[in-house]
């Protein structure tokens, strides 16, 4: 597992991983979209709009996961003085921002037919929009500091402070009375969703994760090349 913290190892391993990842993302995306758009059943209440879920839920998971990865790598970079953590931070932030945006936009499109509004200020929606603002600020920090050393440390500190938001997002549906429904899939209990819907959801999630990992690997590789020292 040393390739997760060492730039040279990561470069070598990612060369092996790229082709399978391209294959997985294309195959799973096609199969998943087929399932999601044609083969999966309609919801008895929501009708066809339930199909937005197959975009919305995976992108929300990736948005959270990216921030979690950035938090872990900030700790690695700051505490263990490994610059590879900062490389990952810089490379991964725009991906997280894009997936958060996809999540917000698709959720808003879903909300209009279901709740009757594009946007409502409940806890889940607000905390996710704050997550988006955090991503934007991290990107701005990465763009506006001239000194590399300072930029890395400051963005890492900011990510650590911003990670307070993660549990708030996760538990917002349990802590407050929200319009947004609570989590349907969790480890501890049986999922409150029909198996015919959960298969396309899992396939789409795998497709999305592999796409995100692919972009992340490409960005990290360019970042490693552009930095003179590793």
């Amino acid at each position: 597992m040393r390739f997760l913290i060492n730039a040279k190892r990561f470069d070598a391993v990612s060369d092996i991983l790229i082709k399978p990842l391209i294959f997985i993302s294309i195959a799973f995306l096609i199969i998943g979209l087929l399932f999601a758009l044609y083969l999966s059943p309609e919801d008895y209440q929501q009708g066809s709009t339930v199909r937005i879920m197959y975009i919305h839920v995976p992108s929300a998971w990736i948005a959270l996961m990216t921030f979690l990865v950035m938090t872990v790598y900030s700790i690695i970079g700051l505490a263990f003085r490994m610059p590879f953590g900062f490389i990952i931070n810089k490379a991964v932030a725009p991906i997280g921002a894009i997936f958060t945006l996809i999540c917000i936009v698709s959720g808003s499109l879903w909300g209009k037919p279901m709740w009757g509004t594009w946007w409502v200020w409940d806890a889940r929606l607000t905390s996710v929009s704050i997550l988006f603002v955090f991503y934007l600020i991290i990107i701005f920090i990465n763009k506006s500091f001239e000194n590399n050393l300072v930029r890395e440390k400051i963005s890492a500190i900011f990510i650590l402070i911003g990670s307070v938001n993660l549990p708030i997002i996760k538990f917002s549906v349990d802590w407050w009375n929200t319009l947004h429904q609570p989590a349907t899939i969790s480890k501890l209990s049986k999922p409150s969703i029909d198996p015919s819907m959960i298969t396309p959801l899992i396939i789409m999630t795998i497709a999305f994760i592999s796409i995100a990992a692919l972009i992340a690997i490409l960005r990290v590789k360019t970042e490693i090349i552009t930095r003179e020292n590793i």
Binding site: F134, I157, F158
Partner: protein
């Protein structure tokens, strides 16, 4: 004894600096009042709307106008090298950030506190609500000073994007504004909300010297 004397003399210097820059602070206050006027022009002068929105408007404008002057928090001392000279005379970076935060609270936020009664007259806020507003602003503005210290020390080497510091402060001030406006508007929750606010203050006051001290050190090393 020497240490206390040094701290007193540090505040003498801060007093002199802020006295010579008194018009900056007055401009800030003027900005605050003009934005109240603009708000009244835009939502209309009806008493019902104002008493409904008044506290929220006041808190928002206090927040916005007190983050305007954040850029000057460490910038001047950093650019003319005073920070290094102070550090070499026995003020550690952590101590400098504590002292600076308290001086920012006194010299920048205090005038805003003084203008709260006049502003609440303009927005038709009742006297009891005004007391609560004052109390919440005393605690909240100290949190704002600490946040400002952290964000402006982060942005010392950021020569291009000055507004980033204010954006950072605004993002982290969301909980403050939630709890302090809740404190005024929700009557029966007063004790729990004020405890949360004081808790936030203590947490951020404990984090502030380490975070801004590290950032100041980083900035001075790489300048």
């Amino acid at each position: 004894m020497k240490f206390i004397k040094k701290i007193i003399n540090f505040y003498f210097r801060e007093y002199k600096v802020n006295l010579s820059g008194i018009f900056d602070i007055l401009t800030n206050i003027t900005f605050f009042f003009i934005s109240i006027f603009i708000f009244i022009f835009s939502v209309g002068p009806e008493k019902e709307t104002l008493s409904l929105l008044g506290v929220g408007i006041l808190w928002t404008l206090l927040l916005l106008s007190s983050t305007l002057s954040l850029r000057k928090f460490y910038q001047d001392d950093f650019e003319n090298g005073s920070l290094i000279v102070l550090h070499l005379n026995g003020f550690s970076f952590e101590l400098i950030s504590i002292l600076k935060t308290i001086s920012h609270f006194f010299f920048v936020q205090f005038p805003f506190m003084m203008s709260i009664p006049f502003a609440s007259v303009l927005l038709d806020i009742s006297l009891e609500k005004m007391y609560d507003l004052f109390l919440s602003f005393v605690i909240g503005s100290f949190i704002l000073s600490c946040l400002g210290s952290i964000s402006s020390s982060m942005n010392l080497l950021n020569k291009r994007n000055y507004l980033l510091g204010s954006v950072m402060v605004l993002v982290f001030s969301i909980p403050i504004i939630i709890f302090s406006v809740g404190l005024i508007n929700i009557e029966d929750n007063f004790n729990s909300l004020i405890n949360i606010l004081i808790g936030l203050l203590l947490i951020i006051f404990a984090i502030n010297p380490w975070a801004s001290g590290a950032c100041l050190k980083l900035a001075i090393q790489n300048n």
